[in-house]
Amino acid sequence: MKLTLKIWREGGVYANGKLETYQVEASEHMSFLEMLDVLNQQLIEEKKDPVAFDHDCREGICGSCSMVIDGRPHGPQTGTTTCQLHMRHYKNGDTIVVEPYRAKAFPVIKDLVVDRSAFDRVIQSGGYISVNTGQAPDGNAIPIEGDTAAKSFDAATCIGCGACVAACPNGSAMLFTSAKVSHLGLLPQGKVEHERRSQKMVAQMDKEGFGMCSNVGACEAECPKEISLENIARMNRSYIGSVFSSE
């Protein structure tokens, strides 16, 4: 199939950025990133600067890919990262617009590559259970009820890609942060630090320049791991609770 791509180029000769138009020939079996590989190969053969984009595992788990395809982070397919989006969902003659994530806390580095280190700092502020190596009791010492474990797991499936932030009109990181707060706070091991964790992570989130949550729900709709808004409600409860607690 023949496709027209309009891709955001930024940095180097493109300075503050513009959309460039390219033509590319793709097969329906390719992944979206393999289609971009074809374009880059073409550009290199013409001795031009290839399009920079973050990618690594190409199996939907590392969370590297970070592009907005026709206005949607990770493209049109729900529950799918860009690397798992296949060209069979497009047809001959389509025009596709590809842009980087856009959010205050994720500055563009080059073309489609953005800086998501703010997420690391949010985790560093409290997204862990404070246990040193060697301090653990036996793994079966604390049985965990099935539903609780499953809810914790659902939150833990977050791959830290940042689609939630890119989708949010406020550039909020509430879904990302609350997924971590839920993952750890639902487990008995993580309960001890739950309120403190919520407070610290929310504070760091604000400091990084992520926006407020106004319950739009775009984050949940675009999350490639389909993480639920319930997590945000859970974090809000523990955050508000912690404000009134003695600490």
């Binding site: 940095g11 180097g12 079996h29 990133l33 393999e34 590989d37 074809v38 550009l43 290199i44 053969e45 001795k47 031009k48 290839p50 920079a52 990618h55 690594d56 595992c57 190409r58 199996e59 788990i61 590392c62 969370g63 397919q77 799918t80 798992q84 296949h86 998501r116 280190s117 997420f119 690391d120 985790i123 560093q124 997204g127 862990y128 259970i129 404070s130 040193n132 190596t133 060697g134 301090q135 653990a136 009791p137 036996d138 793994g139 079966n140 604390i142 049985p143 009820e145 099935g146 474990a149 914790s152 797991f153 833990a156 499936t157 830290g160 993952h183 750890l184 487990l187 091991q189 993580g190």
Partner: protein
């Protein structure tokens, strides 16, 4: 060169316990000023950096990713082994040790493997405490499943994303240390050279990938946890960025590369569909718990499927060859990976492949769906019809493997609940790696290698769910102790300066190396060279090898290398964000490693594990080891023309060397 493996004396089961409690320690006041560089943030690197930080060392940790959480350990699906014996099915530390030695076809070091089995139980405890959401039974206790090559259920898992959950646990521990300031994290930094001072590893040259600037980082010692080199094959289940460069740069500075030809081919990957393909996707080995592997009995049926005239559903039960169950009745579909991979190749070589390329076999869940459906119906007390049983059984399979089935459907566009999956072997893991002694120290003093980057635990074949175990054992429970053996001798060493002649020389050499790649200004892209290299290595040094092919391959790789250095084109410059330059430096190193692999495979005149030499087989076509001549580790010293082979003899005091049989 005499290779001293430093295995402590004593009974196998007591070696580690005794060694641990008698080894030299570094006092807290000294730890605070001793610096350690950790390169890589996968399971081994992140767990090591976090634990060393907890102990009070000053750690600098490097990753080429934008975040430590993206290291490729994240993609491991199936699980992690541990000798907990929670299932009361006869498991023990000794049995895990034995299975691993046997699974590795008797080409690994007994003492290291036993230590790994001992550490396995602590890993599970540690991960649970960190909040890793392992699968649980209804009663809330940890669940297990079986994996290939073993007859007990000792694999702990977290849906189909065990690697992700374990890595996030280690990443969070690392994040906690970063916040405390014990670990300084360098994201988007790639190690491009090792710096030795007076023969000891004292630092690295790293390139800031955003600015292109070269940086000199000094420390009292260097730990490499930089993963495996499976991407030498171009198409593999590794991530696009996985590479050998950190390890290879160490080799170029005198470290030895051990068993480079020992690569693991994973039997269950989604088959290649076209030339544009950039990587292969694994379907977890856990699927072989419930999936049955088959091809049509007749070549005619296979041909009809290849040409699209029939599908797997059109082949009657009697016309199917469940070849693993037929050839290996004791282990059936759960034979080890090397055995399953070769059997698939044999079936496809006979013309019985089931995809348009003829390179695929079926992995079929129909029997499991029916079996689970019937069980569900029984436990719900309903007398169900066939459709209801299928529905109930499908739900059970979905619960166990839902995300894998979903991934399969996304990639292939076929529904695996109805149509049997098509799978084919692909490169997945490498057992070879930097040579290390019992302390995980290479032959370069002060240079350590952990996880997949070392060679030590898996011999000629790794069992499923053992990579995660080894990465975390090395990082959490081995290196924090053994590094003290080296560092206790360094407590009087002042801060290492990064301004010495050695650092300047290494920086200059790195700059020249990158510049000379940029200066070639030829016509072919890095990717096109990488693809061609991969094809050579896959064809001649892949699932089966022979002397003639290996000799030919070495020549082909050397020719390709020449062409690479005369016709490569890299856009852009050194002092900017330049992914093509990054790739070029990695592919340059893969070329040399690829050549060494062919040499190593040629040198080893036996078949063992993943190394299958066509000249050395039993009459039934199984691998034939030669313990009298080849019970050693090959440790190669690099030279551009004539690499030198050193040998570490493998001594088996506790297990009897047997022909590995899964019949």
């Amino acid at each position: 060169m005499k290779l001293d493996n430093k295995v402590p004396p004593g009974e196998l089961a007591e070696k580690w316990v005794k060694y641990k409690s008698t080894m030299n320690l570094v006092a807290p006041n000294n730890k605070r000023r001793i610096e350690i560089i950790v390169v890589g943030t996968g399971l081994a690197g992140a767990s090591a950096a976090a634990t060393l930080g907890e102990l009070g060392y000053k750690v600098k940790c490097f990753t080429f990713h934008d975040s430590p959480r993206r290291a490729h350990s994240i993609a491991a699906q199936g699980g992690i082994n541990a000798a907990k014996n929670y299932q009361n099915d006869g498991d023990s530390v000794y049995r895990l040790f034995y299975d691993t030695i046997k699974g590795g076809d008797y080409r690994s070091r007994e003492a290291n493997v036993h230590r790994l089995a001992e550490a396995s139980t602590d890993i599970i405890d540690q991960c649970v405490a960190q909040g890793v959401p392992f699968a649980r039974e209804y009663g809330g206790l940890l669940a297990n499943r079986s994996f290939g090559g073993v007859q007990v259920s000792r694999t702990f898992y977290a849906r189909g994303q065990t690697g992700q959950q374990l890595l996030i646990g280690a990443y969070q521990s690392l994040a906690r240390q970063i916040a405390k300031g014990t670990v300084t994290m360098y994201n988007r930094h790639e190690m491009l050279d090792l710096v030795k001072v007076d023969g000891k590893a004292r630092g690295i040259i790293a390139r800031n990938l955003l600015t292109g600037e070269l940086e000199r980082h000094a420390a009292h010692c260097v730990v490499l946890a930089t993963g495996g080199y499976g991407n030498v094959y171009y198409l593999s289940t590794n991530a696009m960025g996985s590479n050998v460069s950190a390890a290879w740069r160490a080799v170029r500075r005198g470290a030895l590369m051990a068993n480079p030809c020992m690569c693991q081919i994973h039997p269950t990957c989604i088959p290649v569909s076209g030339d544009y393909q950039s990587k292969l996707t694994l379907m977890s080995e856990s699927l072989r718990n419930d999936g049955r592997v088959w091809v049509p009995k007749s070549v005619e049926d296979a041909k009809a499927i290849q040409e699209g005239r029939k599908t797997g559903l059109d082949i009657a039960e009697d016309d199917r060859d469940y070849y693993l169950e037929r050839r290996y009745p004791a282990f059936g579909n759960l034979v080890p990976r090397d055995v399953a991979s070769r059997a698939a190749k044999v079936a496809c070589d006979e013309g019985k492949g089931v995809s348009p390329t003829g390179l695929a076999v079926f992995l079929d869940f129909t029997s499991a769906i029916q079996r689970y459906g019937q069980q569900e119906a029984n436990s719900q007390g309903i007398s169900a019809n066939a459709a209801k049983i299928t529905e109930l059984g499908t739900a059970v399979i979905e619960k166990k493997y839902g995300n894998l089935f979903q991934m399969y459907e996304k990639i292939t566009g076929e529904n695996p609940y109805v149509m049997p999956m098509k799978i084919y072997p692909a490169i997945h893991y490498v057992m070879g790696g930097l040579w290390v002694d019992y302390n995980l120290e290479t032959n370069v003093p002060g240079l350590f290698a952990l996880g997949e980057a070392n060679f030590s635990d898996h011999g000629a074949n790794r069992l499923g769910a053992s990579a995660l175990m080894q990465g975390l054992a090395d990082g959490y429970f081995v290196i924090p102790y053994t590094i003290g053996q080296f560092l206790s001798g360094e407590i009087r060493t002042p801060e290492i300066s990064n301004e010495t002649a050695e650092f300047m020389e290494a920086e200059e050499a790195t700059r020249n190396r990158l510049q000379s790649l940029l200066d070639i200004k030829g016509n072919q892209s890095v990717e096109s060279f990488h693809k061609r290299l991969g094809k050579i290595i896959w064809e001649y040094c892949g699932m089966s090898r022979n002397a003639e092919g290996l000799k030919k391959a070495r020549g082909l790789v050397r020719d390709l290398k020449k062409e690479f250095y005369s016709d490569l084109f890299i856009p852009g410059t050194m002092n900017e964000f330049n992914p093509e330059l990054e790739k070029a430096a990695r592919v340059a190193d893969f070329m040399e490693l690829g050549e060494l692999m062919t040499l190593d495979a040629l040198e080893r005149n036996e078949s063992c594990g993943g190394h299958f030499r066509e000249e050395f087989t039993t009459p039934e076509g199984e691998a034939k080891r030669d313990d009298d001549r080849y019970a050693f580790v090959s440790a190669w010293e690099w030279d551009d023309d004539n690499p030198v082979l050193h040998k570490e003899e493998l001594i088996f005091e506790n297990v009897e060397l047997k022909t590995r049989s899964y019949k």
